[in-house]
Symmetry: C2
């Protein structure tokens, strides 16, 4: 969970996920070819994405093919983000109630 959040925090890694979303099964070299950084930098990012289980790999001889794995993102949405989303109306009305209560306390100003 922590690793997924950290992995998603970097723009380069989100870019990589976007590219793997658009076209799965790309090798390290293919991905590094049109990115403004070295092959080794891309390899590091892919390792982080792999560790977070956001990217799965499949060795094809000397080529390592990369695929997007959307499952951890779904997990986050369901287990963490979902409750905030569900609570939207609730929290807004809660805010309103709190503010009104405080204002009442403040009347004697």
């Amino acid at each position: 969970m922590e690793s997924v959040f950290k992995a998603l925090a970097d723009e380069s890694r989100r870019e990589l996920l976007d590219r793997l979303f658009a076209r799965g099964g790309q090798s390290l070299n293919a991905l590094a070819a049109d990115l403004p950084m070295s092959r080794q930098a891309v390899a590091k990012h892919l390792a982080i994405l792999e560790a977070a289980n956001l990217v799965s790999v499949h060795w094809q001889g000397r080529e390592k093919l990369h695929y997007l794995n959307p499952v951890p993102i779904g997990d986050i949405v369901r287990r963490w983000v979902g409750k905030f989303e569900d609570a939207r109306v609730e929290s807004l009305t809660g805010l309103k109630a709190e503010l009104e209560a405080k204002e009442k306390k403040n009347v004697r100003t």
Copy 2:
């Protein structure tokens, strides 16, 4: 968008969001009271959350009350995560097809 991802990448800040979800309208001191870090550290985290629009504030005299704002998280889910979620089945079948194609190429081994 970038600021939201970065803000969510830190465990302490997610903890703060959790606490504001459980109970809105807490002051800086109230939040810092039972966290294992200094008040100033909490203040920095809150500033980051505020900059990412994940927390909105309301001054009450000398107290700054904090509230969770779930809107940016919803934005991310809809504009960025959503497409990966929708693509789940598609990408899995795509993976399968790619693998089969590659295996066919490899038969002469």
